[in-house]
Amino acid sequence: MITKTVLIKDTTPGSTSGTKEFFDVFTAALRESKLADEIRLVRAADIGVYNHGIVLKILPDNITYANVQHHDIKRIIGVTLKHGNPIKDLLYQPRAYQLRLVLKNCGRIDPESIDDYIAHDGYRALSAALQAGPDTVIREITASGLRGRGGGGFPTGLKWSMTRSTPGNEKYMICNADEGDPGAYMDRSVLEGDPHAVIEGMLIAGFAIGASQGYFYIRAEYPLAIERVQKAIDQAHAYGLVGERIFGSDFSMDLEIRLGAGAFVCGEETALIASIEGKRGTPSPRPPYPSVKGLWGKPTCINNVETLANVPSIIRNGSAWFSRIGTENSKGTKVFAVTGKVRNSGLIEVPMGTTLRDIVFEIGGGTASGKRFKAVQTGGPSGGVIPEHLLDTPVDYDNLQKLGSIMGSGGMIVMDEDDCMVDIAKFYLKFCVDESCGKCAPCRIGGYQMLNLLENISRGNATLEDLERLRLIAKAMQKASLCGLGQTAANPVLSTLRYFEDEYREHILNRRCPSKKCTALLQFIIDRSRCKKCGLCARSCPEKAITGDKEHGYTIDTARCINCGMCFETCKFGAVERN
């Protein structure tokens, strides 16, 4: 009869055989203690702890031990497995933990079943809100300290009360699911995994501001999210939770989906409204804000997916419960899409105030390659990079802003020593240049000029004055652009300049890219001593710049070489050198 299960994982970086070895020793020890039939040993693929030697998790006791040595096995068997007592000096104390409020149902319930959602407290908040009345709802949301998760961090309760207090008997609620930041997919995941939570948030918001119609603005590249939200709306309709006289009350509200064509600027609220109206998706000056003059000229409230997904649990558990989580000015949790050179690419949800180091190393597991961490990018094309020495900063709206980045919607891209900061700046700026709608000159022309300067730097054709030019144009774009896209487009350039100016200077003064990323500054040569004369490089070269044969070996004609790096990638023997 099996009474306990022990999960085993060697979390030492680079270790491949540690888990198996420990498992075998442990198995023998159990047999010796005549416990082989009572204890189940399992080698885990991943135990959620990193860089802590051998880690064990004992179930059902839920005890985790870290840095376990072979000589600890006896104690573990005697104290914990036989008697269920923990061993203090082996206990693992997590420095950081995830707290799943927004993602609480994601991966737990069937997103296509309204009954499953209801079984997990679903629509109870809506029912309570309808009884409490709009003023109480707004008071609760205001007291909770919830701020918009779409990037701006505007207090949600204040936005609702402004929209409510604008006179008018026709108002609109919009859920912003445009999610255009490269690397960010938190909203998609919430819509796919728990669509009813966002619908419930929409209905509560609509009730609070006095709307009778709501729109989900979802980008067309999210077909599964669209399908599940539509299915969820239909199910809610069938239950009378969307439509006329919801829960038998006087409140009626309909929900519809509008598709976006995947333009980044259409995530900006005024452009989004124009897009729903069937116009070209370009921003217009604010004020008037949407809360005064929004969709079809009527008072409109726009909230992000994650903001709305927070609403039902705040109403259910109360504002005091929510405002206990997080920091002084940033309450609750934040979902991040952690991607790039990180071991565990995925979504994590942590309380506000968790440090970047804990997010990247404790939960993310550090760099995937084991190479040196260089920086983490937050806030997407409107944000910036944060270098290693600032990793202990607790994440909240204000702290990230002070560091020259922003919270943004939650994209977080981890970079290691192979990433060149000039190249990164170029990537984000190119994104904004591509996505600029072209309506205002600072964004349209400024972005293009900055990109040209960056191109020159990455080719070694720049001077130090160009750094000043970059800063000057950046300032003009920040001050004079019409919408957030242009106002923040320079941030990735400014923040890389702020923390990695040395790297820029190295490109300019020594025509060298320290990360060996900017191919124009590299030279490729074949090391004859390592070359096996296989000819793969010559075949991979798109310019036929590699000549030779299997007898005499190969050489690269530097005059014809375009520095694409194909030969470097192709060579299995490391014989192509990059300098």
Binding site: T5, I47, I109, E192, F247, R343, I363
Partner: protein
């Protein structure tokens, strides 16, 4: 159908909670599907039927560990509830034969995460 009342919510909830205690869940959001979750789901469905195992097979969203998809969570009465990662069709069949029918956890596939759930 008539509009729901607050009491109906409780009735629906208790009906769902009374259902089969043993279940298997497959992560079927974009990340899971891209990694092959649909094939895994089909293999589980087929193998459960072959073995005649009375276990409920369900779809769910993304647990957040996207790099480790496809993820399959298994809850069989009397055994620890675990999540298997990077599951392929062969592994899916092993889950049914070994874990569901044989009472054994699979080696080298379990993934665990440190998290706290709030109410």
């Amino acid at each position: 159908m008539a509009a729901l009342t607050a009491d109906d919510l409780a009735a629906i909830a208790s009906r769902i909670h009374d259902q089969n205690a043993s279940w298997i869940r497959v992560g079927m959001s974009t990340c899971g599907i891209a990694a092959g979750a649909e094939r895994v789901y089909a293999a589980l469905e087929d193998e459960l039927q072959r073995q005649g195992a009375g276990v409920q097979l369900k779809k769910c969203g993304c647990l957040g560990m996207c790099a480790a998809e496809p993820l399959v969570e298994v809850n069989i009465a009397g055994m620890p509830r675990v999540i298997y990662c990077r599951v392929d069709e062969a592994c899916a069949r092993d889950i049914v034969r070994g874990h569901v029918c044989g009472g054994k956890l699979l080696q080298d596939y379990i993934i665990d995460m440190q998290s706290e759930d709030a109410s």
